[in-house]
């Protein structure tokens, strides 16, 4: 009996895992084909930006969430470039080339297109869950 319950749960887990891999993202148009974005993502990990910054609220707490930084009209591309290249009192400069900085900016612009980090109040359903449009 115990083995049957275990086996049933495990099969359900495998099926659910496959479904998640295939259908978790229904937005087919955001498929990445830009090498600059891929390079930017790689640099994001190599420089360990996730230690201090969040994307969709996941990551470190030292700096701001950068999911939608690319759409912030008060910042802009030039501001981002200067910030990443030279750092600030709190953020160290990583000695990146201009090209590398551009890759990171391209990556952040791509992340921004995937959605909003903060869930709007109107998306909260009476049952307590969210209804976010994909």
């Amino acid at each position: 009996m115990l083995r049957l319950v275990w086996g049933t749960l495990f099969i359900a887990f495998c099926l659910y895992t496959g479904w998640v891999y295939l259908y978790c993202d229904e937005k087919t148009e955001i498929v990445q084909n830009d090498p600059s974005v891929a390079k930017g993502w790689e640099l994001w990990q190599q420089k360990n930006c996730q230690s201090c910054h969040q994307l969709y609220g996941l990551g470190g707490y030292m700096g701001p969430d950068l999911t939608n930084i690319a759409r912030d009209s008060s910042k802009g591309k030039q501001y981002m470039h200067g910030f990443i290249k030279y750092g600030t009192g709190r953020m160290p400069a990583f000695g990146m080339t201009d090209e590398e900085v551009e890759h990171i900016i391209d990556f952040l612009a791509w992340v921004d297109k995937s959605g909003l980090s903060q869930v709007p109040a109107e998306a909260v359903h009476w049952s307590g869950t969210y209804m976010i449009e994909n």
Binding site: L2, L9, C24, I30, N48, Y130
Partner: protein, 444 residues
């Protein structure tokens, strides 16, 4: 005691000391980055702290399993050769990982920030452990107690989730940011469940040993809660990514499954009276003190988790220090306490401590008292951040964090107390491990 076990035990203690020292340094470098940035920047300290913490929990959990596995499955169940192979490759890979961190060479994902190729030696190492463990498991035809089920589940699911955690190295998963992030946190969420199975299994084993009551690892209620835990391991990882615009069903399934944890909550309240009687009887035992502390932190963190699992509440808590409170509460308050309890039992700490008993109890109290302040500071910091970002909609990060950082000073000061208390205890364990006949033998 075989050399491999002796080395592994000390390695586990070193990992805990590294976690605590680098945790302390990280918290101060978070508050005063201008001072630390030149030599020890936060982005370098944090991975050392988090990776050491994860490696400590996983290594200590496997050490407990290796120590007790042969006693519980039968002396001839396994030769121990595979376990030795696991121990040496595991230690060597972790040392290389810290070497990379020292050179500021990263490349992985959160908590596992080392370059991706290092996942392969870690996975090979785990495979050696699995071969050794399951060989013994297959030879044992008896009806197995629950802690064996839990150890077996934990070892298997760590293997599966570790592979899943590294799928980002396959380009197809990187084609979509939402897919990569979903799979990443699916793996991370389930992996926590996997090591919890190993840790809680050892906790159950310890309770059987010190109470002498074997029925607690064989009754129907215990198995019911095991399957509830397993269901949550498999399907309740979505709360990490509630705000992700991924498929809605991921959110809904996780929400529904997470609400089954209320049954655990109710069960803890129902068992409170029995727990008091048990505590009066066993409180003189040092390992039991750790189990008692873990019970308290299970209750506190489960309460937090239940609220965080409601998406409408998660909207305020996600990405705030409440998440850190939950992470620290479970890793320090639950996992570390249980592991120190089990290792204390294995090292027969009650009989070896001698004149150091008073210092041990004082250090224990210092760690627990400081940890309460530490945890509450994080909860308060999280409430402030959530309120200021979601309700007040403050967009300037500096302005939003101003009062939060003040609360985090209390957190950092309390962190010194937690680290001091636990480091003294670890040093006492280290000394106990050096004495002859270091590990107790257990009855099957």
């Amino acid at each position: 005691m075989p050399l491999a076990i002796r080395i592994y035990t000390r390695f586990v203690f070193l990992l805990l000391i590294t976690t605590l020292v680098f945790g302390m340094l990280s918290s101060w470098s978070y508050l005063y980055p201008e001072i630390f940035n030149r030599y020890l920047p936060f982005y370098q300290l944090r991975p050392v702290h988090t990776s050491a913490a994860l490696f400590f929990i996983i290594s200590a959990a496997t050490l407990c399993i290796i120590l007790f596995n042969r006693d519980t499955l039968g002396r001839n169940a396994t030769s121990g050769r595979w376990e030795q192979l696991f121990i040496f490759t595991w230690i060597a890979t972790i040392l290389v990982i810290f070497g990379y961190y020292g050179l500021k060479k990263f490349g992985g994902r959160e908590y596992w920030e080392f370059p991706g190729w290092l996942a392969f030696p870690l996975l090979s190492s785990w495979t050696f452990l699995m071969i050794g463990y399951y060989k013994g498991w297959l030879k044992c035809a008896d009806k197995k107690p629950l802690y064996i089920w839990m150890w077996s589940t934990g070892i298997l699911f760590f293997f599966l989730t570790f592979i899943e955690q590294n799928l980002w190295q396959i380009p197809w998963f990187r084609q979509s940011f939402l897919r990569e992030l979903t799979v990443q946190w699916k793996a991370n969420g389930s992996m926590v469940g996997a090591w919890n199975q190993m840790v809680y299994g050892s906790s159950l084993f310890l309770m059987v040993m010190i109470s002498g009551d074997k029925s607690i690892a064989r009754n129907k209620k215990a198995f019911f809660f095991y399957f509830l835990g397993l269901t949550n391991l498999m399907f309740n990882w979505g709360h990490h990514i509630y705000n992700l615009p991924a498929h809605g069903w991921i959110r809904h399934i996780s929400y529904v499954i997470s609400m089954t944890e209320w049954l655990i909550f109710i069960s803890i309240i129902q068992g409170f009276k029995n727990k008091l009687t048990e505590a009066r009887k066993l409180r003189h035992m040092l390992p039991y003190k750790f189990l008692l502390a873990a019970e308290f932190w299970v209750f506190a963190n489960l309460t937090l988790a239940l609220f965080m699992s409601i998406p409408a509440v998660n909207r305020y808590t996600h990405g705030t220090h409440i998440t850190v409170a939950h992470a620290m509460g479970t890793t320090i308050g639950i996992n570390t306490m249980i592991l120190l309890g089990v290792l204390g039992y294995a090292l027969d700490i009650d009989n070896k401590i001698g004149a150091g008993r008073k210092l041990f109890i004082r250090s224990y109290r210092l760690a627990q008292g400081s940890f309460i302040i530490f945890w509450l500071s994080l909860v308060l910091a999280g409430i402030l951040k959530g309120y200021r970002s979601v309700t007040l909609n403050i967009t300037s990060f500096q302005e939003m964090m101003e009062p939060v950082n003040k609360v985090l000073v209390a957190f950092s000061v309390a962190g010194i107390g937690v680290a001091t208390g636990l480091i003294i205890i670890v040093i006492m364990y280290w000394q106990a491990a050096g004495k002859s006949q270091s590990f107790v033998k257990v009855d099957k």
